[in-house]
């Protein structure tokens, strides 16, 4: 078991996005369960903005002002609590175009922020994410080839977003603790569910054979299970997931994880390995 010192040591570099990919993934998965690291991370944005302020300011060309303002004010503004339509992923179109935020980035952003901000900020995040989703639908198509860079961006955005989130009353978010059964007997999980979405993380699920994946389900009262996406476990048996849910679902009564073929199934086909209500 890694000592915590190793994680303490990488917090500053993580805040500056200087970690290598595998270091970063291991740290982010640790961050889900570590409030000490979440708190430590909040000590660093001042350094990041300080370093930014240390660059020499430079006057941009005079015509940039009107171009910038024109483009900016043409875009919709996000407002907390604005009602939105159910999400559909933006179509990704490869080819030369200005790099834009993609649908996947929004999800990665949701996952990243929840990893760092915890339950109270999560409720605010869901409201914000849905407002942002409506923006994304109006923007140009995503740039598929830049996906990896965009995921890194979303993580940096998340670090910034944590600092600008206000802790709000999380009245409509419920926590569901999941227990393992069968092949998942050693596993535990936790889900935070609201009418807008679900965030889930787990530890101890076994790695799966090729061609199989885990799938998360939310079960509304009196209705069939609704898929909340598929996920894999990392080398330490942990995993995390954040998904928006379709609007209009009845109150979620239970959350479960099953093993499915790669790509997921329309409905659960195996007995849940992890479940809670």
């Amino acid at each position: 078991m890694t000592t915590h010192q190793a994680f303490d040591d990488v917090v500053p570099a993580y805040a500056l996005d200087a970690l290598d990919r595998d270091e970063r993934q291991a740290f982010e998965e640790h961050l889900v369960i570590c409030e000490r690291c979440q708190a430590a991370l909040r000590q660093w944005p001042g350094v990041s903005s300080g370093l930014g302020l240390a660059a020499e300011p430079a006057e941009p060309p005079p015509d940039l002002r009107s171009r910038t303002l024109a483009r900016a004010v043409a875009q919709p503004q996000a407002h907390l609590g604005r009602p939105v339509t159910p999400f559909r992923p933006a179509v990704a179109v490869p080819g030369p175009s200005r790099p834009r935020s993609s649908a996947l980035q929004r999800w990665a952003l949701a996952a990243s922020v929840v990893l760092m901000a915890g339950l109270a900020a999560y409720a605010a995040l869901l409201r914000i994410q849905l407002a942002e989703t409506a923006d994304a639908l109006g923007e140009a198509a995503a740039y598929v080839a830049q996906l990896s860079a965009e995921l890194e961006t979303s993580r940096r955005d998340a670090a910034m977003l944590v600092d600008t989130l206000q802790v709000v009353n999380a009245g409509d978010v419920i926590r569901v603790d999941l227990r393992g059964a069968g092949p998942g007997a050693g596993a535990t999980g936790r889900a935070f569910v609201s009418e807008r979405g679900v965030v889930f993380h787990s530890e101890g699920l076994p790695a799966l054979a090729g061609g199989r994946t885990y799938q998360l389900w939310v079960i509304p009262q009196g209705a069939a299970p609704v898929s909340a996406g598929t996920f894999a476990v990392n080398a330490f048996g942990g995993s995390s997931l954040a998904r928006m849910l379709p609007a209009g679902l009845a109150t979620v009564a239970a959350v479960a994880v099953t093993e499915e073929p790669d790509g997921g199934s329309p409905g659960p086909t195996t007995t849940p390995l992890l479940a809670g209500s």
Partner: protein, 188 residues
């Protein structure tokens, strides 16, 4: 004269004049940082547009007291600039199209000297703190922050062993934070 936070609130209410005023205060900061990171005028101009578009879209989410507006804007700028830098390294053939210019020109205004000076003063302080770091440490901070490099990339570029890079960067960042904590408004 409105302070930055008041301007952001006005922007959140849809005031394009307030966005123009914020541009007048902070565009030079964004442009300078973006040009330093990307090394290209055209990319820096795109970053300026990206940042102020994002400020316009997300002004409602800015929470007074959690970060200064200048700090927020600077962080947006760095993020966007690193994006462009990495995208260009991956796709050198990528040419960002010029943004359409289809809105009436807004009247240019003089930046408020007090507010501009505040950012400039903070910048001076940080530069002094950076200059006080040993060269070996400062160069790593600059490679990580302005160059957007990771541990391994820094090791590859400098020839310094990976373990040394990690330790030295961490030491430098902690020293920086200690020094900055005494000079800049703290981010809670």
């Amino acid at each position: 004269m409105q302070d930055d936070a008041a301007l952001v609130r006005a922007i959140a209410s849809g005031s394009s004049d307030a966005l123009g005023a914020l541009y007048d205060r902070h565009a030079a900061l964004v442009f300078g940082l973006a040009r330093r990171i990307t090394g290209r005028q055209e990319d820096a101009e795109e970053v300026v547009q990206d940042v102020f578009a994002q400020v316009w879209r997300q002004a409602a989410r800015y929470q007074d007291g959690r970060a200064t507006v200048a700090g927020w804007v600077v962080m947006l700028a760095r993020t966007r600039a690193i994006d462009r830098l990495r995208a260009r390294m991956a796709r050198p053939d990528l040419a960002a199209p010029v943004a359409p210019d289809d809105a009436p020109a807004l009247v240019a205004r003089e930046p408020d000297p007090e507010v501009v000076t505040m950012s400039a003063q903070d910048g001076h302080r940080v530069r002094r703190v950076l200059a006080a770091l040993p060269d070996a440490q400062r160069s790593l901070v600059e490679l990580a922050y302005y160059g957007g490099l990771t541990h391994t990339e820094i090791a590859g570029q400098t020839g310094i062993p990976l373990g040394t890079v990690k330790t030295r960067l961490r030491t430098a960042l902690i020293a920086l934070r200690e020094a900055l904590g005494q000079t800049l408004e703290a981010v809670p």
